[in-house]
Subunit: 398 residues, 2 copies
Amino acid sequence: MDLRPLLAESETKILFVVADGLGGIDSEGRGTELEAARTPNLDRLARQGATGLTYPVAPGITPGSGPGHLGLFGYDPVEHNIGRGVLTALGINFDLQPGDVAARGNFCTLNSDGDVTDRRAGRIDTRECRRLVEMLREIRLDDVEVYVEPVKEHRLLLVLRSKKNTLGAEIDNTDPQRTGVPPLEPHGRDENSQKTARMVGEFLTQAREILAQEDPANFVLLRGFAQLPRLASFKESYGLNGCALAGYPMYRGIARLLGMKVVDCGPDLESEIEALEAAWSDHDFLFLHFKDTDSLGEDGDFEGKVAAIEELDQAIPRIMELRPDVIVVTGDHSTPSAMASHSWHPVPVLISANTCRVDGVQVFGETACAGGGLGHLPAKHLMTLALAHAGRLRKFGA
Amino acid sequence: MDLRPLLAESETKILFVVADGLGGIDSEGRGTELEAARTPNLDRLARQGATGLTYPVAPGITPGSGPGHLGLFGYDPVEHNIGRGVLTALGINFDLQPGDVAARGNFCTLNSDGDVTDRRAGRIDTRECRRLVEMLREIRLDDVEVYVEPVKEHRLLLVLRSKKNTLGAEIDNTDPQRTGVPPLEPHGRDENSQKTARMVGEFLTQAREILAQEDPANFVLLRGFAQLPRLASFKESYGLNGCALAGYPMYRGIARLLGMKVVDCGPDLESEIEALEAAWSDHDFLFLHFKDTDSLGEDGDFEGKVAAIEELDQAIPRIMELRPDVIVVTGDHSTPSAMASHSWHPVPVLISANTCRVDGVQVFGETACAGGGLGHLPAKHLMTLALAHAGRLRKFGA
């Protein structure tokens, strides 16, 4: 629901500590990673607070990082999907503007018949990617600025920008998703997108000529055409001066999309906490993103993820010295190391504040949280709960 | 949400074991029927899996079999209501076609003033019903085929079929729902339904003449006019080759409505399991329906329902020899024997799969499931969860 009519002035501060991919499953008879970890400080917060499990999108749906974070920030992640092209741009700190059309690209290999033989051109390394991108930057199109950016390995970003703001991103992928067939022509699904698709077609024609003599990467496949979604800013939605402490570009990008201040800091927890301390007095919503829990889960490293959770736990006393009025500790989704990928399993959450209804849960873990006082709820409700616990929401109705 | 963009190819198999009316309430200080039953095999599945409680429609809503099963199969049961006429047709294996208008009928008794004196004509027996239906089959209408079918006791089915496909089912009941008043005239609420209502009126005029000398059943009351709902098939919705093992016609009919293969089998569990074994290799979604839990609950037979649950439990090891990748055991609604009827109480569910987050629940029962890791959730999410646990859903968003 629209919280704006309910927003109350307050000096309170809300802190979201987001351990990416926090949730797990038991694969070794020791419980989940969070349950196996020694977490006296998180357990104390859980004991003094209220706990539960969240669905980032819906039961059974495995979220990407975009939907996972939009949900945490109270934006319905189905209604406001961030396209892959935009997410790629955010992930490399590209300064995407409203109206730009962004697509994610792969360098690929075509045979002499023009059929795709390798959709990733043998996963060329990032240096080679940069060299080829340099070549593609020669491409000029009428009426539109073209940006080509290297990403990682065979991946690149294409952005088209028009001053007339008449581009459309309803364009089908040119990546056929299999080998032995030619790349698809870009096809627009509405008038502006058809016009834009013709520009993309011209880009591809030039790219083909430029890369013709290269090996193995002699062409480009595009997918995930997207424009910046129209999202009400954090300030507008909640009256909060938000600030993100996040070392990784994608999470910085999502925060920027919501109009949060994004502080420069390293990707390690120590740097993020230093930045948190520096930013504390000037903001009333602070989002600290901890990446290692997800990375190690994706690596299938149970012990590593346990250790990362313990590292976060050890930082909690220092974080609590800042005296947030409300602290929320949770994840944007689960990343069980047993699955080495994001998963659909609901995510443990704790809220600690003076205004909590303490629920009797003694430890911070998935099994305990399943019986917690917050119940099992869509993640998008956490922002409302945080605002409420912070005394920032007035009564609804008389 | 629409799962189609997320569907992934997989060889995995999903089995739904639906014990009709499974949920109960405690009436004898022994817990519910499921809790009183000795169920070592279901308990083991619960221990190895994740459990919860489902709302078939919404909290406090008692579902019929149609909504109960639509919810289990992931179709919103409020959005896609199956009308009573259609359900009656499905229940007697009538081959209803898209566009047909079906209504449920009662033989009734009118006095000489034309007022209803008995809405069920003294509950005439099924043989008498068949004889009277034979007489009504003489009725011919212009532009439309008429089918009259006996159901049970005083109940019958009326179906109108037009090749022009211009019939409407927005027709009010002619059953006044009380005695001492005349039957209502059929009244259509839109243009096609008004035209159809006039045909129904002509049918009733002829029926009145034909039955005039009969006693006690000398007329017909109609209600629940309905057409087949437009439902995306199971294959289309989930990419699954579904197969139903169900002895009772109504459940077979609902499965057929969703495009599942419906295997001929007896109504007893042994026959259904044999059919399950035979159908196993050719399908990737199998729905086994067990009716006795509901029938005995409806009879108010606590001990009988306990015994039925124990019979199902004893069959679990044989079923598990088929090695489903995901097994879901649940009901379509509760039928507490203490109430001798369907009820609104949420329904216990267990999911067992390699990818489960085990939730510490030790036994399969309502009280234990209330604290399970799946939480309390609308039944329509179970299909999403089953697909997720089966590795059949890709990540949502990047």
